[in-house]
Symmetry: C2
Subunit: 768 residues, 2 copies
């Protein structure tokens, strides 16, 4: 190395000291004074050496930038050859640089002590400066991260568990869609091209018999909503537009024909719907009526003379809108309209209305619009429908819950109009079960990408050592690990609910619907949060469409709105809980019901034990007992508080509508607490069902993280209500962080169980 | 109305009772028994009438659905003609329907009482059923919402305040971009078309002299970073791709030439940069080095023989990536590379490297890639750059902070390499000031759309009355109003910081940078949350691209990552705070500094007064004193806790790198608390600067909502640390809800002050 700078031999051992004195920033006066004092007091250092050292410590005459750089490279060159991992204090470093490393002047306890004092005085800065000398060149450190990490004892079983006995079906979906991966993952399609692609894939799935699984076997199906949901879930790994297009046609349109229609409709349409020979749509939402379905304005007026209905859109505000499949492909629509017979209103009923012929032209009287470019799901052809006195035959009324007799008179097996309305909507709860399942799969895909990226990606690190994987950062662990636990928690809750709903077991329909509504809300909000967090966790790379967050985020964003706005759904859940209690308690009027809820809840709530509220032991915090008790307490308390507020307002003479409006925020709280408790119970039940110890163990850790993180998120509430002490709350925070760190070690295996196609995972590691 | 159903005269007054008995659901046995008992005991009702009533209460023989519908229409027809707003109890309704409304049988106190008892017994259900009879037809109720609401006393001044004295400049931007509104708002452009459009608009802004405002007047500028930021902010109303393209060229590229270069570079390039004759880019980030700039791998090796540098990309991992303007348009790049002179490393320096000729062809040795489709900002041509030993003349080193002398030796006015590095990066803090300003404008646009939509949109309502505006829902107010307050809070903080930064006043550069970093993090996270919440608040309509949330969300998503990952920035802020204290305290080593921080903070913290922690009076909660004290307490406490943890870990022998890693989550907490306190102080300062009483009043309400909502968000922390009692926390929750409700009345005026172009607002009201 050619240089005009040289270091006198006697100064060599002091070079590390001088380097750190100048490297970080200009030293403070007191720091220089301290260094000088230490050296001054050292009798073993020669006076002439001291003078040279002082010269280099003079702030009036600092070393040049070049001299400093030279010192650094000198230290590096002369210390590297030794052991770079050894403790690099100023004394040892100096010794390494000294021409005569065993000279009296250097190797003595006094010098060792002087240097040690100085180092302590300068503190953190000195450590970092010394170690910065050893900065390695990451170029030599780039390692290709390996996807094929040895599996853990629980790996296979965990994956199997998440497949919920539908592995074969899922493989069939993968075999079809893996062939189209390039076409699916092209981001430059124009709107029409994309929509036609998605239509084609949907037909391909239909051809493989995968669309009709929920229909009765008489119509080629498997009578299995569970299998249908498994296909729906698998589609969500590939493309959410495809998932929704599939769901709109087979689930909403086909499902409405199946559950609101009768044998006539089944015989006539179900087979063609199953093969997609008759593409259809589900026309419920209107421009001015999304959440308030009861107030839909489209009318269906019965015409006894012609035995037909006239479907009509009263005003432009009342057009059907956001109707998936309506924009381009549907030939028939299930239209929800107010049925009017002989001047009498009978409320919302569903009608089959042909909207396009096979050539794709709109039928007479029907105006079809396009909803245009959307935030996401641009592979779905959402459109608007306007009916200008469109005549359909009487048979097109889906007449399971309401019909016109031969005398042209309305009749229904359900006399209460309100009950009839909810029964009709209740048959459509399948959508509310499936949407969050697809959403949770979107979360899993996002988590898979974020975990692989984080394991591979290095950034910063201890000075002088290779950079660390960003998965080693506590902040990163805290971001991702609880969301992985959530993905498992919601998976099990969805699966339990789906199986309960489709089982023949006797269950309270209203309770199931309330649960489906509330779970859909919390689960899809969790999806939005998860994808957002994962995108941010992948930085700039996460912003590239190749990492999937683009479409995952944009496509799933509407999940919090469709199949019911989440905030509205949670209110529905809460109101349904109140009704449930009223029914449970039997012979009581509403006032007594509310009072009874309050008193029952109070009894449960009065058992707070100060020893428990302050118990910060891990054993206690990690127990099902504590976690369930905490979740239940929040639920019971919210319920009581809600009942008390409501009865107070109503007794004060407030109209019940206004009273419910007044407690709106409390309805949301109560419903959320209820759903949380159910999710935790289902998680615990899932663990109980397992037999393998390693599987139980990993699931238990995930359950603990889910439960404690949820308590942490609600710690404000728990503390407000003295359920936990401040120190217990702090212990929970710590334990969550600890669980995050422990589970981080399993992170790769935990996302592997999501079974995301390998070509997607590889993208997380690719820098092309 | 033709019908075969008829009602015997004597039954008519009981029809309302019978209707509610069946309308909601099948009555419970005990309910029917109760009704029967009441009627049975009533001596004024004739026995034959009783028998007919009992017949219609028989669950074995319920009315048909049609009969029920007929009863409903009968009640409606016969009660509507009277006063629909009058209290509709069963007694009054019955009286209205009675053939002889004054008959003995009906009009007597006993009957009145019987009916009243029944009504109470059935509770809520009966109220709702009765009122449902009066459901109006919304068709007649559709009203076009008017944008031109009369202004409030503060309206003009509030708008003026947010313009920060740049109204003229903002109007100039609007006049240019309003002309292009159709082109800006087309969503179907392919990638190239969009990028070319954005380039054209950027040039148009340059032609109008709006790009060079921050440059010295000698080069055609106005020497005004404040004016530059005002233009940047205004652009964000229209298109964030345009905003970022503009910022990359004029701010990052031009800014680097201005602040890292010297007169030679200014003379040679600044004019052409100002007119965009020389489009440029800013090449810092590498594939494997985003946040860790110090570890960038691109090298610039000085060649004394030819007086030039060789710029080289060591490996594919080290390519520059995500470089805005590099993909298509930039002809020159400011490249950050490790300077090596004579074998010695001098750390990161910036070099001007020509990358394309005027025909758009890449220069020899340079490989330009495209980052492909992105989640958002697809109007910006982000690209990758690979340098294969590219030679540039020595003059192309931006040599303000480091240069090569005539002897080929490195020199720098800043000897400490660490300080030099931070000084160079510090000159680029402008970007960290501007990005959150644009982000906050994105929040304002989203809030404007959501508020207008909510005011216009009706959904549900008291039975029998028109549907309510969704802005009347407490849940909706709680979603939107705190975010409006946040938008104001961050606006004032950004403005203060920008002015302080650009003022000639003496300020601590490192403190300003730490503040800019932290504020950027909290502000851009707030933007992400705000846009997400506004989208959901607009339901399905919010999902259509026409409502702007699509691009607002997708484009601004990267704001939390670029110009520094938010999580990394907050750690930087926290570390800088620690350094700040060390400097403040002067003659102390690091251990003492940490101890001193702990003790100082402890002194401040020990003053908790149990009367204050339990004070739930509005006067107290709304006072600046309480709010500032609460914010400061959280900051001081976090600071002390951080200092204690750090010193404990380091004293235990933990490496400082590991110690900082260990307290990472606490660094984030401390930095957030610090920024929150600054934002509140700036809000209060802004209010103090105003003179008009109505303006002060509305700002004070917003400040109260900002502060109390932030405390509510952190209530877990405050309760854990006993700063507020449980009941005080509950009072704060209530007060936040109350403020939301009060400010809801002002919501339209509050978003009008954001001055969002009218054609955008109209979209929120449009159902096409």
């Amino acid at each position: 190395m050619k240089t005009s700078i040289s270091i006198p031999d006697s100064l060599l051992p002091f070079i590390p000291l001088l380097y750190i004195a100048w490297a970080d920033d200009v030293l403070e006066e007191h720091e220089i004074a301290y260094i000088k004092k230490q050296i001054d007091q050292n009798k073993t250092i020669k006076e002439e050496t001291k003078l040279i050292v002082y010269k280099w410590l003079n702030p009036e005459n600092p070393p040049s930038a070049r001299e400093l750089a030279y010192w650094k490279s000198y230290i590096k060159d002369h210390a590297d050859v030794l052991d770079p991992a050894a403790k690099m204090d100023l004394f040892t470093l100096g010794k390494r640089l000294a021409k005569n490393p065993n000279s009296e002047e250097w190797v003595n306890d006094q010098t060792k002590q002087s240097l040690s004092h100085i180092e302590n005085y300068l503190g953190i800065a000195s450590h970092e400066a010394i170690r910065s000398v050893y900065e390695t060149n990451p170029v030599q450190g780039y390692q290709t991260f390996t996807i094929n990490k040895p599996k853990k004892g629980y790996s296979v079983q965990l994956k199997t568990l998440l497949q919920h006995y539908n592995a074969d079906l899922k493989t069939r979906v993968q075999n079809i869609l893996d062939k189209h991966k390039e076409a699916i993952e092209s981001y430059d399609d124009d709107l029409i091209t994309r929509k036609e692609k998605v239509f084609k894939w949907t037909k391909e799935l239909a051809d493989a018999g995968l669309g009709k699984l929920a229909y009765p076997s008489a119509y080629g199906g498997s009578d299995s909503m569970v299998q249908y949901a498994a296909v729906f879930e698998e589609l969500a790994k590939y493309d959410l537009s495809l998932t929704i297009k599939f769901g709109v046609h087979f689930g909403l349109f086909g499902g409405s024909v199946e559950s609101l229609g009768t044998t006539y409709h089944h015989d006539k349409y179900l087979k063609d719907i199953g093969t997609m020979a008759l593409p259809g749509c589900f026309a419920m939402t209107e421009m001015y009526h999304g959440s308030n379905v009861k107030a839909l304005q489209t009318t269906a007026i019965y015409q006894p003379e012609t035995n037909s209905f006239i479907i009509n859109t009263p005003s432009q505000h009342d057009r059907k809108t956001y109707i998936g499949n309506a924009g381009l492909h549907a030939q028939m629509a299930t239209v929800f309209a107010q049925l009017i017979v002989d001047g009498e209103e009978h409320g919302i009923h569903a009608f089959l209305v042909p909207i396009r012929n096979e050539q794709g032209d709109a039928m007479p009287g029907i105006t079809i619009g396009d909803n245009g470019h959307k935030m996401g799901l641009n592979g779905v052809d959402n459109g608007t429908l306007h009916f200008n006195s469109v005549r359909i035959p009487k048979e097109n009324l889906l007449n399971k819950f309401g019909d016109i007799d031969e005398d042209g008179q309305y009749f229904s097996p359900i006399i209460s109009p309100s009950r009839r309305f909810f029964t009709m909507l209740g048959t459509l709860v399948g959508g509310r079960l499936c949407v969050p399942i697809a959403g949770n799969m979107a979360s899993k895909k996002a988590l898979n990408m974020a975990v692989y990226f984080a394991l591979d990606r290095k950034q910063f690190g201890p000075p002088g050592e290779p950079e660390q994987s960003i998965m080693d950062y506590p902040t990163h662990q805290k971001k991702l690990m609880p969301l992985i636990a959530n993905a498992y928690a919601y998976d099990f809750a969805h699966d339990h609910l789906l199986k309960e709903y489709t089982s023949d077991a006797d269950h309270d329909a209203q309770e199931m619907e309330a649960l489906a509504a509330g779970l859909k809300a919390l689960s899809t909000w969790n999806t939005t949060t998860t994808i957002q967090t994962c995108r941010e966790a992948c930085g700039g790379k996460g912003y590239l469409s190749e990492m999937y967050f683009d479409l995952l985020k944009a496509d799933s964003d509407i999940f919090t709105t469709f199949e019911g706005d989440n905030t509205v759904l949670l209110q529905l859940t809460a109101k349904s809980r109140l009704t449930y209690f009223r029914k449970q308690f039997g012979k009581m009027d509403w006032w007594d019901t509310l009072k009874y809820i309050s008193s029952i809840a109070s009894t449960n709530l009065s058992e707070l034990n100060p020893l428990v509220t302050r118990d910060t032991s891990e054993e206690h915090l990690l127990s099902n007992d504590f976690q369930l008790a905490a979740f239940t307490y929040r639920e019971e308390y919210s319920l009581r508080s809600l009942a008390m507020r409501l009865s107070k307002k109503i007794k004060e003479g407030m109209d019940s509508y206004d009273a419910f409006l007044h407690v709106q925020v409390h309805l949301i709280d109560m419903a959320s607490a209820y759903i949380d408790r159910i999710v935790l119970e289902r998680f615990i039940a899932t663990i109980d069902e397992q037999e393998d110890a390693s599987l139980k163990e990993i699931l238990t850790s995930l359950k603990n993280l889910y439960a404690l993180h949820r308590i942490e998120e609600n710690k404000g509430w728990y503390l407000e209500h003295d359920y936990i002490s401040g120190s217990k709350s702090l212990s929970i925070n710590k334990l969550v962080q600890k669980l995050c760190k422990e589970l981080k070690e399993e992170s790769q295996h935990l996302v592997d169980a999501f079974d995301i196609p390998k070509h997607m995972t590889e993208t997380a590691l690719k820098f092309y």
